[in-house]
Structures are given as structure tokens and as C-alpha cells.
């Protein structure tokens, strides 16, 4: 799968993401500056973590309205794959490509620690190297990861199988129904708060995030 990583000013996990993608696919992802508008030739567009535009006003708000987003919308409409992690997830919700919003963490503090995620379904392009119901370790590092959507939306997400991951154990940031990640209706757009890309090497404490990138590389 040909992958590209979108770099907004203030994004800071693009290097981590590039390493994870390259490690699984053997291919360097294309780095896409936020003022570019041509995403042709890419199968997967990744929006990595960080503080786009300083997270000022609302996390992801300004990035979601910048020039590259029209091309990302078009990519989504074409049925292209999109992965948004952390700030990338926030940007995708702000852009309306995923439902809901990410509010301040319930305890109003930045949370940087390991967490456990449960895989809700293992039949998507992102999760087919995991098993349904499996839990795996990931790293979270965010101040605004408290997933919110109104009850009707939450019911719909659950009803249609669009919840990707939930926090297992303690729901530290207060997310509605412990949701850590969600899919678009066609299951091709995934947003999640924790960072699978930071656990792809035993030296860094484990490889629990690697199956996600292996699956994408094989797709």
C-alpha cells in the first residue's frame, strides 16, 4: 500500500509514523506538506500526532480547515484509506470525516502513559493482524482524548460496528463508552487516540502496535 504522511505545522510524530510504516512495508512513505493538494497515487493517507497549529483554539480545528483537507476529503470519497492518530484523529473529527469530538481529558491533565486497547473487530484493513476481543498495549500522550458524541451517534456507532478500539481497564481520559478509536461507515477511515507507532520495536518496550502496520503493508 502506498502511504503518505501529512505534515501540518506543529505536527511532531510524523517521524515516529514514518519509521513504523517503513519498518512494516519496506517503503518510505511520502511526506505531504499541508499546502499540497495532490494526493494521487496514494492508497493510504496518514495524519500523525502532534500539536497542529499549537492546538490553539481547539485541537485539530485549524488543520481541519487547511488546503490539503480538500484533497483528503476527495481521497476519502474515492474510497481511499485514512489513518489519523491522536492529533490526526482530532483533525478527522474536526473535518467531519469521523463523528464525534475529542474533549479535554476528564482529569484536565495531559496523560502520557501506557494503556490497553481492546480490538472490537478484526476484519478491517487496519486490524486483520489482531484478533477480535484481543487486548494490546499502546502509548497514549494527549491532553484532549476524551471522546464525545451524543447518545444517538454512539448507539449508531456501536450498532454499525464502527467502534474500532476501546480502553480496557481504566478509562483514563473519560471517553464515552471507553471508545479509543472509530471507523468511517466504509471502514476505510480510522481515527484513534493512542500511538501504535510508538510500540513497534522491542527496544522501545514492545511490538504491540506492529500488527496494525503489518496489516496495512500487506493490504
Amino acid at each position: 500500500m502506498k502511504a503518505g504522511i501529512v505534515v501540518f505545522p506543529g505536527i511532531n510524530r510524523e517521524r515516529d509514523m514514518a519509521i513504523a510504516l517503513e519498518q512494516s512495508s519496506g517503503e518510505k512513505p511520502r511526506m505531504i506538506w499541508h499546502k499540497e493538494t495532490d494526493l494521487s497515487g496514494l492508497d493510504l493517507v496518514v495524519i500523525p500526532g502532534g500539536f497542529s497549529f499549537g492546538d490553539y483554539l481547539r485541537c485539530g480545528a485549524m488543520a481541519a480547515r487547511s488546503p490539503v483537507m480538500a484533497a483528503i476529503h476527495a481521497h476519502a470519497t474515492r474510497g481511499g484509506y485514512i489513518l489519523g492518530v491522536c492529533n490526526g484523529f482530532q483533525i478527522l473529527t474536526e473535518a467531519g470525516l469521523l463523528p464525534g469530538a475529542l474533549l479535554r481529558n476528564a482529569a484536565l491533565r495531559f496523560l502520557s502513559m501506557d494503556c490497553q486497547l481492546t480490538v472490537e473487530r478484526a476484519d478491517t484493513v487496519f486490524t486483520k493482524r489482531y484478533q477480535k476481543g484481543q487486548t494490546f498495549r499502546s502509548v497514549m500522550a494527549h491532553g484532549d482524548g476524551n471522546f464525545f458524541a451524543d447518545d444517538a451517534t454512539l448507539d449508531r456507532l456501536e450498532g454499525e460496528g464502527l467502534v474500532a478500539f476501546r480502553y480496557a481497564g481504566e478509562n483514563l481520559n473519560g471517553s464515552a463508552r471507553a471508545i479509543a478509536g472509530v471507523y468511517s461507515p466504509n471502514l476505510r477511515v480510522l481515527g484513534l487516540m493512542p500511538h501504535p507507532e510508538d510500540l513497534v520495536d522491542p527496544l522501545m518496550g514492545g511490538t504491540d502496535g506492529k500488527p496494525l502496520f503489518d496489516a496495512l503493508a500487506a493490504a
Partner: protein, 79 residues
């Protein structure tokens, strides 16, 4: 002229910051507080002299950027 956009979380959206402030006010001995809501205010200095136009423009900005309709509501004052 100046337009002030006030952005608040919609009712129904949990406001942990408001809650924390209420709690902190309580510990400081302010016991007259029923409820606290925390929000944002954005003061715009616009190059526009017609109040109606300034309001319309600020409302447009709020819809397009300053507020997130999924969780927030806004109001605009012009002065």
C-alpha cells in the same frame, strides 16, 4: 469595530473544567455557587463599520472555525 464571540459547550456535553472550577471555588470558601460553566471568548477587531455586517461576518467565522457545532454553541456581540 469589535465583535466578541463567546463559545460555550452545549448543554449535555460534560464540562469537567467548569466542574473543577466549582470544586476549587468551594474549597476557597465560596459556598454560594450552584453551577459553573467554562467557555472561550474570542475578541475580533474587524475592519468593518456596519454593525450588521460585522455581526454577520463574526457569525460566519464562528460557524466555520471558532466553534465546533458538534459540542459547542456560540453567541456574538458587536460593539
Amino acid at each position: 469595530m469589535k465583535a466578541t464571540v463567546t463559545v460555550m459547550l452545549k448543554t449535555g456535553v460534560l464540562d469537567p473544567q467548569g466542574k473543577a472550577i466549582a470544586h476549587a471555588l468551594g474549597t476557597l470558601g465560596f459556598d454560594n455557587v450552584n453551577d459553573v460553566r467554562a467557555g472561550k471568548v474570542i475578541e475580533l477587531d474587524l475592519n468593518e463599520t456596519d454593525p450588521a455586517k460585522a455581526r454577520a461576518e463574526a457569525e460566519d467565522m464562528a460557524r466555520k472555525l471558532l466553534a465546533n457545532g458538534v459540542i459547542e454553541s456560540f453567541r456574538v456581540e458587536v460593539a
